[in-house]
């Protein structure tokens, strides 16, 4: 069946090999064009004015002097972005985040913007805008924000998810609960109970490319937007909605994207650029500075988490609970809920309960960051698992194997698992040579597991065959990590032609139907599935053309190894027709040959990983060195193993940075103190060893090739893997992320365990 998504366990000829990626030459020569690399005649430079206060009423904005400055062509405030959201809270939050309305809600919140003929003029214009602020009390810590007398960030919030429904405003936007069984009874059965509280600081996705766009809107209400984004269709819909434009009249083209990891799934300054362009009637190029990226885009949450796990002395967990407090920034979202869902997803538990809180603070609007909310929850749970193993005098891996979820397990967040990889990755870790490598003085080894859901979503793909038999594969999911190579492999496999006869491009929004954003590890999964079906549809057309060329019944035509083959003995004299031969004749047999697919890609599988980490700690300074790191993750089916390995390694590296040094540092004045790569410390090349990878393939039954999304899961285990390694190296149990040298040294000195 052409659109059957069931796993078929076929043997592959091309899928699984490692050819060069199609966009490689452009990227190594500097030809590839990213967000800031486009320019238009007459373009203006856009710059944004941002609040220096964490929380303030905006009493008045006087833009008159800025408007009069020679070379300034437009100045906008919220007055130029009227509320067209018709009560849609999500859209209103985006509108207010793009440009403050009556209040500045965080240090860096946009309050006005200018477009001028050059950067220097724009810079001078910003200085001439006078904003009259009334500074208000602020709160930036998640636990502080939950206290009864905390300053209220959004006065409309009444906590959802608690009964009776509250009448007072709160910073707690929502309480979510997941689980099953009876945890009280479960704890009573336990021989050993371990309970601990943890804190994780806020981190940023840290993509090297700042947000950038080139916006051009004409007086006829039509416009174009060139932008670095993970989802140009979503950006189109949101920008059109916020600006009151027709969706079809705003053409959005995604540039190459210089990293996103979830942070570019959301509009930040793009609606402002469009508003400036509309007012000035000229193209506006708006590129964020690195400081703006840290202050005013979408980092992930800081959290405060309590975990309690009980087990019988043979190592079987009888009950587990987690209470998770996540700050969403100044606008409500679902991050606490996701944390509660993922907490115990790796385990087969009879009695489990997780409660998640989404809390507002005066910080930027949190956006997704690679397996959002899971790393923090896993830090807390996987650290506690090691504490439990120590109490039980059990090997930490064996404790996890004993309690691992498997096919048929009811997940702590609700559904029942099909075939999954947590058990296999744990076994593979246990048997891995890394586990046997000797350790020296001040060195320790730790392991941890991680889980992530994967998503499907709306997907549209076109496959067009040129008269020379080469294939244009047009997809709508932005290529964040090399998916054009994987998609070309899939098309080549289905059609039976060489990989280098396929050219995969990302279409703009005018050229293809809606595609959901590249997030949730869905790029290769969804567009891959749509590519399979588009190719199979194209094969139907090819077979029909062959039948016509042979003048036989199409039921007698088969497709094998890139050729039409006539079945049945009576057609034995007919030579096979290659795709190229059929394509060459296509103008005479019915015109261009193509296959399309529009689908909501269902059946995304879940993805599990186990990591092993060796560290060395300097006990006199608290500095931690990563000696060796191994990632074992289930990919379902690795379409292009190089890029699957790349996802494992990149995610692990982000997790390592998060574990050791990355954090947002706010002062008591509510201002971000380290909005740059100097003091927001991501790992540099000399900080890391080679990262070994092992790809397991437990097929996802909901995908024809068994593919699971791979991009996110491996950012989940590193925090706890490193904390567990530190515990074994230095005898200290770290409960505060990042485990920076001052924190580690203090713990060593206090001899805490």
């Amino acid at each position: 069946m052409a659109t059957d998504t069931t796993f078929t366990n076929q043997e592959f000829k091309i899928v699984g090999t490692r050819p060069p990626r199609p966009d490689g030459v452009d990227k190594v020569t500097g030809r590839a064009r990213f967000g800031a690399d486009a320019s238009a005649a007459g373009q203006l430079v856009g710059l944004v004015l941002r609040s220096p206060h964490a929380h303030a009423k905006i009493k008045k904005i006087d833009t008159s002097k800025a408007e009069k400055l020679k070379g300034v062509k437009a100045v906008v405030t919220s007055a130029d972005l009227p509320d067209l959201t018709k009560g849609d809270r999500g859209m209103f939050d985006m509108l207010e985040n793009c440009m403050a309305r009556d209040r500045a809600l965080y240090d860096g919140h946009a309050v006005a913007a200018v477009a001028a003929i050059d950067a220097e003029t724009a810079r001078q214009a910003l200085k001439l805008i006078k904003v009259d602020y009334e500074v208000l009390p602020h709160v930036t810590d998640v636990d502080e924000a939950m206290k009864p007398n905390a300053p209220i960030v959004q006065p409309y919030i009444r906590t959802a998810g608690i009964e009776p429904k509250p009448t007072k405003a709160s910073n707690v936007a929502q309480k979510s609960e997941f689980g099953h069984g009876d945890v009280e009874a479960g704890f009573k059965q336990a021989d050993v109970i371990v309970e601990r509280s943890y804190k994780t600081e806020q981190t940023h996705q840290g993509y090297i490319e700042p947000h950038a766009c080139l916006a051009s809107v004409g007086p006829d209400g039509q416009g174009e937007l060139w932008v670095t984004t993970q989802g140009h269709f979503t950006f189109r819909n949101v920008c059109a909605g916020l600006l009151g434009m027709d969706i079809a009249k705003l053409k959005v083209t995604s540039s190459e994207i210089g990293g996103g990891f979830g942070g570019k799934t959301h509009v930040w300054a793009e609606p402002v650029a469009l508003a400036l362009s509309r007012k000035a009637n000229r193209p506006v190029k708006l590129v964020m500075t690195r400081e703006e990226v840290f202050r005013a885009t979408g980092p992930t949450c800081s959290t405060s988490i309590d975990v309690k796990i009980g087990a019988t002395k043979d190592g079987r967990i009888t009950a587990a609970t987690a209470t998770l407090r996540y700050q969403d920034g100044a606008f409500t979202s679902i991050w606490g809920m996701l944390g509660a869902m993922t907490s115990f997803a790796c385990y087969d538990l009879a009695n489990v309960k997780s409660i998640g809180y989404d809390v507002l603070v005066n910080r930027p609007k949190v956006a997704a960051y690679r397996a959002p909310s899971a790393p923090m929850a896993a830090f807390a749970v996987e650290s506690t698992m090691d504490l439990l193993a120590a109490e039980l005098k059990m090997d930490p891996i064996d404790l996890r194997i004993r309690n691992a979820a498997k096919e048929g397990t009811r997940a702590s967040y609700g559904p029942t698992y099909g075939p999954i990889g947590i058990g296999p990755t744990l076994q593979a870790a246990k048997n891995h040579p890394h586990m046997k490598a000797p350790l020296g003085k001040n060195q320790g080894r730790g392991m941890a597991c991680g889980f992530w859901f994967n998503f499907g979503g709306q997907t549209c793909t076109d496959l067009n065959i040129g008269v020379d038999g080469t294939v244009s594969l047009t997809v709508g999911t932005v290529d964040v990590g090399g998916s054009r190579a994987s998609l070309s492999l899939i098309a080549a496999e289905e059609l039976g032609i060489p990989y280098d006869r396929i050219k995969c491009t990302i279409a703009d929004t005018a050229s293809l139907g809606h595609n959901d954003t590249t997030e949730g590890s869905r790029g290769t999964f969804s567009s891959g599935m749509a590519t399979i079906f588009a190719a199979r549809n194209a094969i139907q057309v090819l077979k029909a053309r062959a039948a016509k060329m042979w003048d036989i019944d199409v039921a007698d035509v088969d497709w094998k190894n890139g050729r039409a083959v006539a079945l049945r003995a009576e057609h034995g004299n007919l030579n096979e027709l290659t795709l190229g031969e059929i394509a060459a004749k296509s103008p005479q047999t019915g015109g261009p040959i193509a296959g399309h697919n529009e689908t909501v890609a269902d059946g995304a599988g879940v993805s599990f990983a186990t990591h092993i980490c060796d560290i060395e700690v300097d006990p006199e300074t608290g500095k931690t060195k990563i000696l060796r790191y191994t990632v074992i993750q289930d990919a379902g089916k690795a379409i292009h193993p190089d890029y699957v390995e790349g996802q494992f390694q990149g995610a692990a590296a982000q997790g390592i940075g998060w574990a050791l040094n990355e954090e947002y540092i706010y002062g008591t004045d509510g201002r971000l103190q380290n909005a740059g790569f100097l003091d927001y410390r991501i790992p540099v090349c000399s900080d890391l060893p080679f990262i070994d990878t092992q790809i397991l393939e437990i097929p996802n039954p909901g995908h024809p090739y068994g593919v699971r999304g791979v991009g996110e899961t491996s950012i989940v285990p590193p925090l706890a893997a490193i904390a567990n390694a530190l515990s074994n190296a230095a005898g200290v149990r770290m409960t505060h992320i990042p485990m920076s040298p001052p924190r580690v040294l203090k713990a060593i000195k206090n001899g805490r365990h």
Binding site: T621, L678, D679, R681, V684, S686, P741, P742, L745
Partner: protein, 286 residues
């Protein structure tokens, strides 16, 4: 903003002395351009000194070494003779930033930017380096530790420029070393640092010592008590412990986004101790 690139030091000091608004010297630019672009400074005049021949060279003289103010730190690391004589000063100069920064930054710029955490300064002070200052009124030579008066502030007068740093000829049986603490392996500003220079007498006994701490006070700290703790010893454990304790006692650090008072104080002692051991080995001690 005006940009000038004079070809003589006389032109340079003249431009700086006559400047009406704020005027800055541009050598490597790795501090100046960051401050300029962030809006922290609005210079009326920037004087690029990299075209002045007298500032472009490293020369070995009878009395030691002369390092011109426009010499990038990468060039210091490439100078085998300088590196052999003053390994501590060179390794300090070479930890400033990445290879890209090393291609531009200068020890004079590092000194005059006057950050309490400057990497090259503790080692220069430990080595007894001097600064050759040139101004409209003539030349003067001052000890490097007399250049910086506070965070971001120097004792240089309007129109003055440091033309070169001079290092003495290392005494026989001398060694110097520099260590800094950063949370990553590269690319960080020093959380705390230590520069030590030792001269040994007979039988490996320390005869002279200078112990200098960085990033634990508004300027670098020369710690005479730490030197005293190891003079007359062969750097046994007790002497090293006393040196570390003296360094901890002399620290005046702050809490900031890079480190706590507690952390800086403790690690200052650790680094001073480790740097002393390296300097001792370089001086020929066992």
């Amino acid at each position: 903003m005006r940009y000038e690139a004079p070809r003589t030091i006389k032109e340079a000091t003249g431009l700086l002395a006559k400047a009406k608004g704020s005027a800055f010297v541009l050598a490597g630019g790795s501090d100046l351009l960051v401050r300029l672009k962030s809006g922290m400074i609005e210079p009326e005049l920037v004087v690029d000194i990299k075209r002045i021949p007298s500032m472009q060279t490293v020369t070995k003289t009878a009395s030691g070494f002369r390092i011109g103010g426009a010499v990038p730190c990468a060039a210091l690391g490439e100078n085998a003779v300088l590196k052999k004589a003053w390994p501590g000063v060179v390794e300090a100069a070479n930890v400033i930033g990445s290879d890209q920064i090393q291609g531009r930054c200068t020890i004079v710029g590092n000194l005059c930017n006057a950050s309490p955490a400057a990497d090259s300064v503790p080692a220069m002070v430990a080595a007894g380096a001097k600064a050759s200052v040139v101004g409209p009124k003539g030349k003067r030579t001052i000890a490097v530790e007399d250049v910086v008066t506070g965070p971001g502030k120097t004792s240089l007068k309007k129109g003055e420029v440091i033309e070169a740093i001079t290092l003495p000829k290392p005494a026989p049986k001398s060694g110097d070393a520099f260590l800094r603490f950063i949370p990553r392996t590269e690319m960080d500003i020093a959380v705390v640092s230590a520069g030590v220079c030792l001269t040994l007498g007979s039988k490996g006994v320390v005869k002279k010592a200078r112990v200098v701490l960085g990033a634990v006070g508004p300027t670098v700290l020369l710690v005479p008590a730490a030197a005293k703790a190891i003079i007359g010893t062969t750097l046994d454990d007790a002497a090293l412990a006393e040196l570390a304790a003296a360094c901890e006692a002399a620290c005046k650090p702050i809490d900031d986004k890079r480190g706590t008072i507690e952390f800086r104080t403790e690690v200052a002692g650790v680094l001073a101790r480790r740097a002393a051991v390296i300097a001792y080995q370089r001086a020929g001690g066992q």
